[in-house]
Point group: C2
Chain length 334, copies 2
């Protein structure tokens, strides 16, 4: 089996061969192929949004995706929820000596496919090789550039009492998929990660006339963490109805097994939209038309500031506080 060696990171002939045979092949676009110290992307007309994320997920291949697909989706989603159309992505690889070239090829292929599907070009890259035991297979940093949609101006300050909270589908799929495969808890069957690019759904949301206040993709820390962050920035509270939140059967079973509330588990293909109360039903209908939002539901609303930032009406009729996460929940899920 051909593997990555330290020489692949030397900047010499082996580096060039690795870059050409894997990265140029899968990311193929004229800007990247110019091979200069910087990539010239030309003018961007409008306000620019910028985001960066490193991916260290373990395992690197999982049901529904791999670290490559995730690294593109994650960055596209961070741009999209900020109301920006994703345009360009850079990719930095930190590869452990001995990693299979075949696996690297598969990962790069996933990245290229996901980028093309979203009309995004991977225009610059970097590869570093570290010794065995000083990395873990492959880590990927992606940095994305997008252009803001000037029709909207999202801000937590615009959030008002009575605004509705829409979630685009079931929770915890990604985090539970990773946990399941990492720990080999196969008795529950496989769980598929929701890893996907949200831009096609979000562009429909932006095209609607709904008064969008803010959007977030609930990754690390899950829906609970995202809602707490929004509530804290907005200086408002939220009341969520547990019964309205879709949780898949196997995710629910896994949650009970591990004693982890799925509200705190990472998603990689879901969006939370806070929208003016009067526009919520209409927007919900629009979101349900997209395959990415078919299970969307209104999960709660913004309320006057009460004791806790975020509260949940439970299935049994009680109200419990949903605090900000603390401590280690699920490491290395993204």
């Amino acid at each position: 089996m051909d593997v990555v060696s330290i020489a692949h990171g030397s900047g010499g002939k082996e580096s060039s061969h690795l870059i050409e045979s894997i990265f140029y092949k899968h990311f193929n676009n004229p800007i990247l192929l110019k091979q200069s110290d910087s990539s010239i992307i030309g003018k961007v007309h409008g306000d620019i949004a910028l985001t960066t994320d490193s991916f260290v997920v373990d395992p690197i291949f999982f049901t529904g995706g791999d670290i490559g697909k995730l690294s593109i989706c994650g960055t596209i989603n961070d741009l999209a929820v900020s109301c920006a159309k994703p345009l360009y992505i850079t990719a930095g690889f930190i590869i452990e000596e001995g990693f299979s070239l075949d696996s690297l090829d598969k990962i790069a292929k996933s990245m290229g496919n996901e980028a093309r599907k979203n009309d995004v070009s991977i225009v610059a890259g970097d590869t570093k090789i570290v010794e065995r035991g000083r990395g873990h297979r492959v880590y990927i940093n992606t940095t994305g550039i997008g252009v803001l949609d000037s029709r909207h101006s999202l801000s937590p300050n615009s959030i008002e009492v009575g605004d509705k909270i829409i979630l685009s589908g079931s929770i915890g799929d990604h985090g539970m998929c990773i946990m399941n495969e990492r720990e080999g808890l196969s008795t529950l069957g496989s769980i598929e990660s929701d890893c996907s690019s949200l831009y096609p759904l979000i562009s429909r949301i932006l095209d609607s006339n709904a008064r969008i206040r803010i959007m977030r993709d609930p990754t690390r820390g899950g829906v609970a963490q995202s809602l707490n962050e929004i509530a804290s920035l907005a200086g408002k509270s939220m009341l969520i109805d547990e019964d309205t939140i879709p949780v898949k059967k196997n995710v629910s079973a896994m949650s009970r097994l591990l004693g982890i509330d799925p509200l705190y588990v990472a998603n990689e293909g879901k969006v939370i939209v806070i929208v003016h109360g009067d526009d919520a039903d209409n927007l919900l209908g629009i979101m349900k038309q997209s395959s990415l939002g078919v299970d969307s539901s209104i999960i709660g609303e913004v309320v006057e500031r009460i004791s806790g930032e975020v509260n949940v009406k439970t299935s049994l009729g009680g109200i419990k506080r949903l605090p900000m996460m603390s401590g280690e929940v699920l490491p290395r899920i993204c």
Copy 2:
């Protein structure tokens, strides 16, 4: 000693505390402090240059710099040699569990200082924590955005026979510093890395009337690698005069000890400029006025394509080929 724990990467309270107490403190700027999924940098007037680089240097603290300073200088230099003024940088950290918070603070401080010195803002960041033995202290990815200087249009295609090759100072300082400190070869005394941001020197070069063909910062693979890449892209050959290339005494001693030609050793604060032959002396004078270019010299010229891409006239009067590097020279120097 306070150290980084897995919980610092969970996305919860500990993550927020780490980010606020270290990164926000040292990178402090209004765009970063907005804390959204993407950072809104507004409009950039002109053509945009984009570059990404991951830094895995070992050791992380060395004479003349540290991984933080290097991560900012490296990305600023990649933009600058591409004829772009550096504007914004993103920073992605992959930190090994158990890494000292005090060291992380020092590194972030270096980054903030170097960015401010160059009028660059670190506008977005990301932190991931990996288990012990799956990283090595800290790895940093920086991605930079700059705006092209419209007065110049650099391209290897513009290179002509008779063009001169200017180098801004002594070679091999960074690579030999790292090797010296990694291997503890202290009998030779300390070697200081040349790690520095080249933008102040390069902006003088761009302000001159010299017909610049192309610039490169000779990092991994050193001057030899950069010249081979340029020669290959231009379809020309080069003849270098060994006697004109400044090598510091301790770097030269280290080279002999290790049997490594300093022409292949990394620099982190040097630039190679290919310029029209008639403009070379004037440009050399301008470069020497900058503290970053005080030891600049004309090291050779572009010649008709001959057998090798790059040839060197040795001190003894012979001519030897300077081939593209192959295999492992010095791993993890940047």
